[in-house]
């Protein structure tokens, strides 16, 4: 398994370079223009000048190599410099956003806290409630618990967050006044009251997202548990006199985890991607909002950098999932 992991990690480098190239070409091909959002009163000649100043006059491969150099050399050196106070990156151009004309990495760092708080927490909560729901629903198939679980999770998944979010705002922010409708990203948690406020402003977006995540994961958990509960080894284990708890939580659960691990591993990178719609509904302004505004503004360096980091996480977590398969089921071998 160790050699497999090392081999996959090495293979990830060319894979990621290839993915970054494809993303760049896709963004270049996509229709759009960084000056599209400017007022129409700005004349075409000025727009052309703006495009040139952004480096759009260069051929696509030059722009790609430039981005690669900035992202793989200048950015890491800059991080090194700020950590150790050295000056290797002096005079090196970092990846600069077209909208803000400032380093992309700084803005991403600025957006991380709210995204991790809201999207990350909701993923953790979603997973934590989904697993027991899935297990109980499968163990007591067609019980009232299972039926209600199915109903809630299907509604949670099929009713889009642009609706549930607004509904919550109308009920809890407008009518009841319990929670703020606008997330304050400048809020600093430095006291108990500040913490309470933070919990209040996170409550609604976390609820919406956790419901959505839990719906999905619990369905996979349930289906996979059902498959395994009917297997022969379960009967054997019971016949051997093992307690029901051991049978279900040790044997069946372990063997049922493969699809669930896959889904969770696919879900973790999306935390970094942020939740575009939920962030917009609750004005969280995290990474999802950053990505969508960058796409609309055709801010290619920003979109490219965000998507590439996303790609790195996807490759990494899919590798983690593959390694976990081997641990959950030692019969799985890759070499």
């Amino acid at each position: 398994m160790f050699t497999y992991t090392v081999r996959r990690l090495l293979l990830a480098i060319p894979t990621l370079l290839f993915i970054s190239l494809i993303i760049f070409l896709l963004l270049d091909l996509a229709p759009g223009d960084p000056t599209a959002q400017l007022p129409l009163t700005i004349p075409p000649e000025v727009r052309e000048k703006i495009r040139e100043s952004l480096g759009l006059g260069q051929p696509v491969y030059v722009r790609y190599l430039l981005w690669l150099k900035q992202f793989l050399v200048a950015e890491p050196l800059h991080v090194f410099d700020t950590m150790f106070g050295t000056g290797f990156a002096d005079g090196m151009q970092r990846v600069i956003s077209w909208q803000t004309r400032s380093p992309v990495a700084d803005i991403i760092a600025q957006r991380m806290p709210q995204t991790l708080w809201v999207v990350g927490l909701s993923y953790v909560i979603g997973t934590l409630i989904a697993l027991p729901i899935g297990i109980i629903s499968a163990y007591r198939q067609y019980s009232w618990f299972d039926q209600i679980g199915a109903l809630v999770s299907m509604i949670g998944y099929s009713v889009p967050t642009f609706f549930t979010g607004v509904l919550l705002i109308v009920v809890f922010a407008v009518n009841l006044g319990w929670f703020p409708s606008i997330y304050d990203t400048t809020h600093v948690v430095d006291s108990w009251d500040a913490f309470v406020f933070q919990v209040r402003q996170m409550a609604m977006p976390v609820f919406v997202l956790a419901l959505y995540n839990a719906a999905q994961i619990s369905r996979f958990m349930r289906a996979s548990m059902l498959d395994n509960l009917a297997q022969d080894y379960v009967r054997t284990a019971r016949a051997k006199g093992m307690s029901e708890k051991v049978v279900v939580l040790l044997h069946v659960l372990r063997n049922s985890m493969i699809p669930v691990v896959t889904v969770i591993a696919l879900g973790v990178p999306t935390i970094f991607g942020g939740a575009i719609i939920t962030e917009q509904v609750f004005k969280v302004n995290g990474l999802g909002q950053l990505l969508i505004t960058a796409i609309y503004a055709n801010d290619i360096p920003m979109v490219q950098t965000l998507t590439f980091i996303f790609a790195v996480l996807i490759v990494l977590f899919n590798l983690i999932a593959d390694v976990l398969y081997g641990m959950l089921d030692p019969r799985i071998r890759y070499d």
Partner: protein
């Protein structure tokens, strides 16, 4: 929150030294929401409205426009004119005098050198300055002395109030931006995120595309102003949510650009927490009627002058299309108080607005039918009119926007009543308004028969705007589809009027010329104007002093805002 209130208290206390009636910073914090957040505070590097308006709290021009479109001296002492000698007789020079004793927020004095530097900064060939058109025709800017700025024009400039006039052409500090000329402009992140200004507020924290925090400028030239100690300028969400936060939850004091269903807006307003205010300038929602043939079978010559449109070049058809539209109903359904029916592409200022076309204000389906009947277009078996094998069938494109889609649906129905078939298309705004020559869906390429959007002009002078419809402005493959004459209107007579206007100084004559051009466009029916659009915003009832303005930044007078006691 707590922390911030404490800070506010401190700021308010320090300000408790001046007169008791109006102290700087005595009214705490004002919360403003722009549902599109500013991404930079240097309006020269991004010409977006959100950037220009957020920066207008900090950096200022010589002159602003008030809510009636009149010029108000801001950093300048007075408005130079030919009469008072400020503008040269031959119209090639304008001389401005700065107010006395104006300080930058860092305490240094504002001088004419700063204006000269601003001109250099924005006209640098590698800078990509978004506002460089304000310096069109400017040959030099000279600092005569510390307070006197001389702007020279290469040719006589009948309307010299462009450079340093209005929120899009403010003055930046030379000391701060000296190392940021040309290609280095984007490297000055700190300066671009927190420009030093002469305005009522200074930037304390800027998070791109998220939130800006401002504090009162201690060196502001007017005693006791601004009344607010801090400003929270939040972005994100959408227009409905912004309206809700002001008028339903009361979390914010001011919300910008609320183009949503007027029904929804008024029912929010009815809660009594906030008020909708609308300002009108020159925005007109209009339908452009393609004079060239967008048929895909024409390949590369599609929608170019080589192939005139099979029927839309005939003004009779355009007239019938225009007559079939009930503009008041569109205003009613989609705009409410934020829109008025109009028959002109140039609806304001009053001196330029024509009244010759007002007949279009009343819908006349029967008249439209008769017009088409008389022209020989007869309804076919499916109700669509035909003449010589040509069917009156149109594709109608616009950008994605709830109000526009409702308008499209209404217009489609009226046109079907007069026997014109319409296929609707909506395109994402970032593609539609993007100039990407590779995309078939841009408004410049106009691969459709009619298209609808809003345009306007900055400031109060329509000269450049009317020049949009010269023959030479027609987008074509040769110009990489750049150009502003979307409907491909071309008339030598019109071009001659444009030239004449650029040489006429007398305001009355200019007005007459502009009206004549407007009428010519209207009677060619290559543009069908629909709605003179206002800009609706909302403010909390406790917020006083808002003078909603669409000629300048709408928060132009934030220095005068205060909290009702």
């Amino acid at each position: 929150m707590r922390f911030r209130t404490a800070l506010l208290g401190a700021v308010a206390l320090t300000a408790l030294t001046g007169a008791a009636s109006a102290e700087r910073g005595s009214d705490g914090q004002v919360n403003i929401i722009y549902w599109q957040a500013p991404s930079i505070l240097n309006p020269f590097l991004s010409g977006g409205t959100k950037e220009v308006e957020s920066a207008s709290l900090v950096i200022e021009p010589l002159v602003r426009f008030d809510e009636t479109g009149e010029m108000v001296p801001w950093l300048a002492e007075s408005i130079p004119t030919v009469e008072n000698g400020g503008v040269a007789e031959d119209l090639t020079k304008i001389t401005w005098t700065l107010k006395e004793g104006v300080l930058w927020s860092d305490g240094t004095p504002l001088t004419a050198e700063d204006a000269v530097f601003t001109w250099e900064y924005c006209t640098h060939p590698e800078g990509g300055c978004a506002q460089s058109s304000y310096f069109d025709g400017v040959s030099s800017v000279v600092a005569v002395d510390d307070r006197t700025i001389e702007v020279n024009f290469a040719a006589p400039k009948p309307f010299p109030y462009t450079a340093f006039v209005g929120s899009e052409s403010p003055i930046i500090q030379k000391a701060q931006f000296a190392d940021c000329l040309g290609a280095k402009a984007p490297e000055c992140t700190e300066a671009n995120f927190a420009p030093i200004g002469t305005g009522p507020f200074v930037v304390t924290d800027f998070r791109p595309n998220d939130v800006v925090q401002f504090a009162a400028n201690e060196n502001f030239r007017e005693a006791g102003k601004p009344a607010f100690a801090t400003v929270l300028f939040k972005g994100g969400g959408d227009a409905t949510a912004a309206a809700r936060s002001v008028m339903e939850t009361g979390e914010f004091d001011y919300a910008w650009n609320l183009q949503i269903d007027p029904n929804v807006l008024s029912s929010m307003e009815a809660k009594g927490l906030g008020k909708v205010v609308t300002a009108f300038a020159t925005s007109v929602e209009r339908i452009h009627v393609n004079q060239t043939d967008p048929n895909p079978s024409l390949g590369a010559e599609r929608a170019t002058l080589a192939h005139p449109h099979p029927f839309l070049t005939d003004p009779t058809i355009g007239q019938a299309l225009s007559m079939a539209i009930d503009r008041s109903l569109i205003a009613d359904v989609g705009y409410g108080a934020g829109g008025q029916p109009t028959c002109n592409v140039l609806p304001a200022p009053a001196a330029y607005a024509s009244t010759a076309n007002d007949g279009c204000l009343v819908q006349d389906i029967e008249g439209a039918k008769k017009l088409l009947d008389d022209a020989g277009w007869v309804p076919g078996p499916d109700g669509v009119r035909v003449k010589d094998g040509v069917r009156l069938s149109l594709t109608y494109q616009t950008s994605t926007n709830a109000v526009r889609q409702d308008t499209q649906a209404l217009v489609k129905q009226w046109w079907s009543e007069i026997g014109v078939e319409t296929e609707l298309r909506n395109i994402d705004a970032s593609v539609f308004f993007g100039g990407d020559p590779g995309s078939p869906d841009t408004f410049q390429k106009f691969y459709a028969d009619v298209e609808m959007y809003t345009n306007n002009f900055a400031g109060v002078d329509p000269e450049a705007y009317m020049a949009n419809w010269r023959c030479s402005e027609i987008p074509s493959p040769e110009t990489q589809w750049q150009g502003s004459n979307m409907q491909r209107f071309c008339s030598e007579e019109y071009d001659a009027l444009v030239d004449k206007m650029s040489q006429t100084a007398n305001l009355e004559e200019r007005g007459a010329l502009a009206k004549q051009m407007n009428d010519m466009l209207m009677q060619s029916y290559s543009i069908i104007p629909l709605i003179h659009r206002g800009n609706p915003s909302a403010h909390a009832v406790t917020l006083e002093g808002v003078r909603m303005n669409d000629w300048d930044s709408e928060i132009w007078n934030i220095k005068d805002w205060s909290r009702a006691k």
